[in-house]
Amino acid sequence: MLAVLAFLLLPGACARKPAPAVAKTPAAAKTPVAPPPLRYEVRLGKVTFTHYCQTCHGESGAGDGFNAFNLDPHPRDLSDPEFQKKKSDAELADAIQRGGAGVGLSALMPPWGHTLSAGQIDELVLYLRTLPALRKPAS
């Protein structure tokens, strides 16, 4: 009896349904005009940038925030691809954490290590890395 039952169940247990197509083309691929939506961590980084950095470094990171003209030396152009190439993630995070004075540059860039968490600084670096791509072509 059991053998019959096992026989009946066997094909069921061994069955393999063809896999449904899982890989879908992302919706963004259809409309190449819109930039792809940022990852959540990068979005958090953008929020931090807008809140703390934009006043001096500017919306696009070009160093043209409304408070920039008060500062000598001027804030760094963070969207410059050359500058970004030279600096590692760790170096950027270090400069944010310890400020200009901490890395031997202008004290007008304050240290943010006591204000922002290490996680927030990492998110910020992730966002900074997206800036060169958003840069407006020089006119």
Binding site: G12, V22, E41, H51, F66, N70, A101, T115
Partner: protein, 673 residues
């Protein structure tokens, strides 16, 4: 023999029937998905051991069981196998890693999946779980409304990390939805709509008719919605409004004020600009506030009403956020003269402010309309009884699409969010005879409001999951000081504990520990701009010295924070070298990047030129030790200063400003009664 054969056949048949259910289970798609996941995992694994771990995963239903959260069982992870697996970043659905949110990763075991996403947690087929099959329970929340999930547990109006939900809740409160619709926790809501008793002596029949036709076309800041009234209904309602009994005392005030001679428009212009009206009002759309647009105010209200209102706004509307300015009789006349010269609608017909001759029959019909459209909900909440005019909104987020009346809207997808969005956009389009007015929400606004509405569940979540930010006690004195705070409407801009509004960056909760008394008295009498980059500025309220002194003393005595030391130098007396060292720190830390001192410096923080005159050293010290403690989102960085350095910097800032020459300016200020 035939019997035995029959028995054998029926046994086989019986076994076949028995096998149907296990066979069906064996063909469930999650099994093949789990086998795919094994392969995917072992191909992505970094070590042989990890790969073997993926290969050894049993094919079985996975579930998160939340015993203390309505006994929820979420089996979503049966197919969504990689939600908490960092190796699955970028993997194809349904194996991909869940994007990071405040609750993920790390919160899966506490919150499950359906608490945010909705849908049917118990189901193990895609159609049933996502709610896309016809007879399934409520479906998943579409991703654009995902923040509605946050709102089930987070009950405050503003929720960190959920901007769409917060915006939706703000819009609901501002539109006054709670005046007609009951919602848990909003029983105390009162609309800011003005009482209508003085309307017949405030404005004219033509203006009222134009307003009723479309309030937002007269004033873009209007919160009153468009009721799409017919011309006849508008006429009847106007007659009803002009039939109101004007309180005698107010009527005579307006009449006397109207008979006063005209003032000097030139002086009025000066007064209006220093009064900072655009902190709350807009003028031709300029200004961030939401108080009535002023550019056509003289074609809205009569001169007598403007004068009488300006002199004591709260007598006309006890709930107005408008403070009472202490203009002299002449000054208020000058202000109104300027408004009459410049702030009028030059295209309006001449008689726009002519009162309406009341026809009693029309007025009686208007009275019925006033009740029919629920106008009393906002304009006369006391007279409406305890019943709300509209249906209650609790549970609207859990409504089944099948239970909604789509009426004429055959164009809509039959889902709850689509119904809500359409209801907000054109409320009367579903059937004839509906009464809900339209609010002119933009697409973004209606998405935000829909998100907030979807958060209104039928039941409140268990206490353990409910989150409201900790209450901050608010000390609101009675007596003369209480009436001053009321009359100057400090709470329209400043916070005290969790009361009041966050228009000003300076909460009054610990103002007494922060600023020096003498400075405060001067500032209240003649306020000036502390932070030039802000558009919202303290108005010059023309406060008489007695009022300013009384308020300053109250703030100095009661609005204190025990963690701010009265004298930070108590344990370690300041030395002569401290201010010098402090100045060195000021330069070395780069404070000038944001603060103006003397003639140079950044344009971001408040100028520090008179810091020693304005700020108490205890406050300066407490601020320097951690600015974010006092205002969580403040941009002033925490420099992690040592106690000694913070004291040195405090000692330096104490020396700034003309009145800070004495060594202990504090004691002098404290002695004043």
């Amino acid at each position: 023999m035939p019997l035995r054969r029959l028995f054998a056949a029926s046994s086989v048949l019986f076994l076949l029937v028995l096998a149907i259910s296990p066979a069906k289970n064996a063909f469930r798609s999650y099994r093949s998905l789990q086998r795919q996941f094994r392969k995917l995992g072992s191909s992505r694994a970094h070590s042989l051991k990890a790969a073997q771990g993926y290969e050894a995963r049993p094919v079985a239903i996975q579930q998160i069981w939340l015993r203390d959260f309505e006994n929820r069982v979420d089996r979503c992870t049966t197919c969504h196998l990689g939600v908490a697996d960092p190796l699955m970043a970028g993997a194809p659905r349904p194996f991909d890693l869940h994007p990071g949110t405040p609750h993920t990763p790390g919160g899966f075991d506490r919150f499950g999946c359906t608490s945010c996403h909705g849908g049917q947690g118990l189901a193990t087929t895609q159609g049933d779980a996502h709610g896309s099959t016809a007879d399934a329970g409520p479906p998943m929340t579409p991703p654009v409304f995902i923040e509605s999930g946050c709102g089930r547990c987070h009950l405050s109006e503003s929720v960190d990390g959920a901007p769409v939900l917060s915006r939706g809740r703000t819009l609901i409160a501002r539109a006054g939805c709670y005046a007609c619709h009951a919602v848990r926790g909003q029983d105390a809501f009162r609309s800011e709509a003005p009482p209508l008793a003085t309307l017949p002596v405030k404005t004219g029949g033509e203006w009222v008719k134009r307003w009723l036709k479309d309030p937002k076309s007269i004033d873009p800041n209007a919160t009153m919605p468009n009721f799409h009234l017919t011309d006849q209904a508008i006429d009847e309602l106007s007659h009803f409004l002009f039939a109101a009994q004007v309180p005698k005392e107010l009527a005579s005030r307006i009449e006397t004020a109207g008979a006063e001679p005209a003032g000097s428009s030139a002086n009025g212009k000066k007064l209006v600009s220093e009064s900072r009206c655009i902190t709350c009002h807009t003028v031709e759309g300029k200004g961030k506030g939401t108080a009535p647009e002023l550019s056509k105010i003289a074609s809205t209200a009569s001169r007598g009403w403007l004068l009488a209102f300006l002199r004591e706004p709260q007598a006309f509307n006890p709930r107005t956020p408008m403070p009472r300015y202490h203009f002299t009789e002449t000054e208020s006349r000058d202000v109104v003269a300027y408004l009459e010269d410049e702030f009028r609608d030059f295209d309006a017909p001449k008689g726009i402010l002519e009162p309406l001759r009341v026809n009693q029959t029309l007025a009686e019909n208007g009275r019925k309309l006033f009740r029919l459209y629920g106008c009393f909900s906002c304009h006369d909440p006391a007279g409406s009884g305890s019943e709300k005019f509209g249906p209650e909104l609790d549970g609207i987020g859990d409504k089944r699409a099948q239970s909604l009346d789509f009426g004429r809207r055959t164009d809509l997808v039959r889902t709850l969010p689509a119904w809500l969005a359409a209801k907000l956009e054109s409320p009367r389009s579903f059937a004839d005879g509906l009464k809900m007015p339209s609010y002119g929400f933009s697409a973004d606004d209606s998405r935000a409001v829909t998100t907030a509405l979807l958060a209104l569940g039928a039941q409140s979540v268990p206490d353990r999951y409910r989150y409201a930010p900790p209450r901050k006690p608010a000390l609101l004195p009675g007596g003369p000081v209480g009436s001053l705070i009321q009359s100057y409407r400090c709470l329209s801009c400043h916070e005290i504990g969790d009361r009041g509004a966050d228009v000003s960056t300076a909460p009054l909760t610990y103002e007494g520990s922060k600023v020096k008394r003498d400075w405060l008295v001067d500032y209240l009498m003649l306020s000036y701009t502390l932070r030039p980059i802000l558009e919202e500025r303290m108005p010059v309220l023309k406060m008489p010295r007695e009022d300013a002194t009384q308020l300053a003393d109250a703030l100095q005595n009661f609005y204190l924070d025990p963690s701010i030391p009265e004298d930070p130098f108590a344990a370690r007396p300041a030395s002569d070298a401290d201010p010098v060292e402090g100045q060195r720190l000021y330069v070395g830390l780069g404070c000038r990047g944001c603060h103006i001192l003397g003639s140079s410096g950044g344009y971001y923080g408040p100028p520090l030129t008179e810091a020693g005159k304005r700020l108490k050293p205890g406050w300066t010290y407490a601020w320097l030790k951690g600015p974010q403690r006092w205002r969580a989102d403040v941009r002033c960085p925490d420099y992690g200063l040592s106690d000694t350095d913070a004291l040195r910097l405090t000692a330096y800032l104490e020396t700034l400003g003309p009145a800070a020459s004495s060594a202990k300016p504090e004691s002098a200020a404290r002695g004043v009664k």
